[in-house]
């Protein structure tokens, strides 16, 4: 699915240069569920953004579904992204002015799908995420857990091959976290590839593999589940 080769990302401000990723080479196979862990500031989110084609690396290569995307311009990346990748963020990132239904519908609009088909897809995914009864509500009227379920619904409504989740449970209490993780786990079982950044060892347990990042480097690639504290 994805293969990176010596991925490096350097951020520059006026005087300071920070290396967020330092020669990261990883491979993620079709249908895998991978967690990315590491202390704050280790480069996890940067890696996720690059894998999600939201950002481009300073150096190195990324092979995404057979495309060498590192040199792609934004338009090409957008096109590749909108049909293949779904995103879930720690802070949900729903559009406050849109209802639950409209938020979930959004990616389909950009795919230029007909209205009746959009409706079918959105209704189906809302049912699946058990938030159909809330579809006319606005994000601010929902609890954090519900908001994140809407965000997951939005991420999967296009049936993406890859879901990228950036600390999806970071703003949730334990009960809601478990709910969301169960959803992701279910999607994984249906064959979706998932890459998730997390701080939580409990959440990481749901995945098959953990990539540890530290100061921009991959430190261990473990096929086993590990326990922290």
């Amino acid at each position: 699915m994805i293969k990176t080769d010596n991925l490096t990302k350097v951020y520059r401000t006026d005087e300071v240069e920070t290396t967020a990723l330092n020669q990261v080479s990883i491979e993620i196979g079709d249908g895998e569920f991978v967690s990315v862990m590491g202390p704050s500031g280790c480069g996890k989110s940067t890696l996720l953004n690059i894998l999600g084609l939201l950002d481009s690396p300073t150096n190195g290569k990324i092979d995404f579904l057979g495309h060498e995307v590192a040199g792609y311009n934004e338009r090409k990346r957008t096109n590749l992204r909108k049909s293949n990748i779904g995103f879930i963020f720690q802070n949900f990132n729903l559009i406050d002015e849109l209802t639950v239904y409209e938020n979930v519908e959004l990616p389909l609009l950009y795919l230029k799908m007909s209205a009746s088909e959009r409706k079918k897809h959105v209704e189906a995914v809302l049912d699946k995420m058990k938030i159909a009864h809330r579809k006319k509500h606005f994000p601010q009227q929902l609890s954090g857990g519900q908001q994140q379920r809407v965000a997951v619904a939005r991420a999967v409504v296009t049936n993406p091959k890859l879901i990228l989740a950036d600390e999806p449970t970071g703003n949730l209490d334990s009960g809601h976290s478990e709910e969301v993780m169960e959803l992701l786990s279910g999607l994984h079982k249906e064959g979706t590839t998932i890459v998730m950044v997390t701080h939580s060892p409990t959440d990481a347990e749901y995945s098959e593999r953990i990539i540890h990042l530290f100061d921009g480097h991959v430190v261990t690639k473990s096929g086993e589940k590990e326990f922290h504290l």
């Binding site: 939201l54 992204r81 909108k82 990132n93 559009i95 002015e97 609009l109 950009y110």
Partner: protein, 811 residues
Amino acid sequence: MLKNYLIVAFRNLKRNKFYSVINILGLAIGLTCMILIMLYVNDELSYDKHHLNHERVYRLESHFTIQDKDDYFALNSLPFAQAMKDEYPEVEEIVRFREKANTMFKLGEKQFFENAIFFADSTVFKVFTYPFIYGDPATALTKPRTIVITKSMSERFFGSANPIGEELETGSRQKLTVTGVIEDLPKNSHVLFNALISMKTLEAFYGPERFDTGNPGNFWNIGYMAFMMVKEGTDPQIFYDRFPDFYDKYMRAVGDAINSSYELMLTPLADIHLHSRLDWDLPTGNIVYVRIFSIVGLFLLIIACINYMNMATARATRRAREVGIRKAVGGGRGSLVRQFLGESVLMALISLVLAIILAELLIPIFSQMTDKQITFNPFERPMLSLAIVGLTLFVGLVAGSYPAFYLSAFKPVQVLKASALSTRRGSTLRKLLVFMQFTISVVMIIGTLIVIGQINYLKTKPLGYAKDNIVYFEVRDTVISRQIPNLKEEFKNNPNILGTGASNSVPGEETAKLVIFVESEDGYKEEPMNLIWVDNDYLPLLEYQLVEGRYFDEEMKTDMEQGILINETFAREYNWMDDPLGKKISFGRGDDGSYEIELSVIGVLKDFNYRTLHNNIEPLAILLGGEGAAMGNLSRMYVKISAENTAETIQYMKEAWEKHIKEYPFQFKFLEDSLNTLYESERRLGLIFSYLAFLCILIACMGLLGLSVFITEQRTKEIGIRKVMGAEVGNIFILLVKGFMTLVSVSTLVAMPIAWVALDKWLQNFAYQVEINWLWLIAGAGIAILIAFLTIALQALRAARSNPVSALQYE
């Protein structure tokens, strides 16, 4: 997709009610002003353009040079028209107008005073376009004692009936036959009348001598407004080129005799209203005011537009997250650009709709304020409407382009992770804008104060005579003048009537001007002179002050033929100050070359303002008029009444009048009122200025409010940090208010000298100017600063009291 954009756009408007209202309303007000000012300017520029031949019509005007003194008059003489036609084959038609004082017309029981009555040649309907309802334009004014009336006058007398052939009687029992009814004149006409009486009527009254082109004296006697229509393709320059021959043939004889010369001036009909500034003209507009209003209107619009863009931009940065999300879920840059541009245009269009509604609502008030007949139907004025819509779209697109292109270029990563975006960029521009807005506003406020100050000054300035409690009425004709002695007798019986007097004119009106001959070391010298005729009582009645000599005296029988009073300026000009009494003045030369009608100076009056305060005091001579006098029809009767029981006194006068005069109703005016109307255009300017100033400061404050709320929002984090560091509400309040108030204060400092210079220039229009007072400048600045402070203070206080945690929590 469009639906989605619209949903987001409207929910955004709803959610950010404050910004939306400020934004849409601000732009709407700006657009409303622009629409109104465009209509005003359009109206000013449209004067007389409804006459189909207006491009070929010129007014014949006069430039006299008498003893090296120049006079420019909008009028011309009676025989000029015929002579022009004789001399210039390029002339197609000429029409002369002569204004008649307001006249009473009677039809059976109905009687109305009609103002704006003119005598006119029958060619008037060839030169000008006046659509006829009844009658034949070709023959309507060809005979004596015929009259063409407007529709509304016709309705007053005849209702909806066709009045052709009916007779109207004037107050002085002259019968006039109605030969035509025309549509009411559009207000944007220079010559505005309710009725035209044929010039032949006047000719029959005067006799043909006055029209004789063979008598050069007739050419020097001006009092008619003449319009000439030239043949197609005629260059008006030829009239100037060939005028010396004309002058030699018809006018030189008199010119040489009085050491004077005359030049013809031509003004195209459509230019008269705005570009002609001549004496003895009908009321005109002023291109300067048109320019001032255009500029101020444009400023208002620019302020409103930039405010709009500014706020739209500021607000858009709050939507950075939405941009990030849309990008993450597959939105391309193009779709985001379209979305933001569309939203912005939509908002601008909402403003436009609001502006059109506002404009329609305000037009009646605005028409009244500007004394214009303004209507606005967007469909009737496609060019104007297109311009307004085009401008609105332009504002929408420009306002939307910054967020559209700037925000759509955001990397989603940046905006999704870090919620704090530095939008400090462009803050210099915003500050500059606030600065500009307040500078303009303060100039406007100070301007308003000074205009009002000047008007008050004009109204209260001592004029050199006692204008209080003076009532005057018109002595229209012999019907009234014969009863004057009876009226005077009646008035004597009322202790509240303190005295009477008569004059040929009302202070403030233009005076008659004649060439007289003044004694000097080298004999008599010609001098164009302002003249007033009075009776024996008039001067003491209005308390004109003597510096030398005496008033006219009933006992001195010689005064009527030999007495003359002059003003100080006259005496000064001729170096008579030491010994003015007994100096000689003559009114003309007999055929034998000797000076007839010699008068000697019996008194010198302290200078007083006999014209409006736009003008300096010029030399003036005062003669006895009335019965037995060679000239000077004492057409105004003045009555001084006591300040108490005014209403009863006037009622008494009315009853006395009605006892003796049946033909006319009693009509009177207070002198003070008629003096105040002299400054009507200034009063109107002051009024419009104050409205514009109000709008300026309103829009500026709306911008300031929006901007300060925005900047405060941006500084939320900083406020939070400062509070955590120990800042108290007061510290934060000062922090937030200081920046803006400094800006506003600096702009007032800049505005003060600008206002000073600009208003000083305006004051140059007046011979008498109020002194620009520092207090006005400070008051203007103070008002602006206070309003600005109130605008900012409330929300700064709110921000200062907010909980710091909420600002820092979601980092």
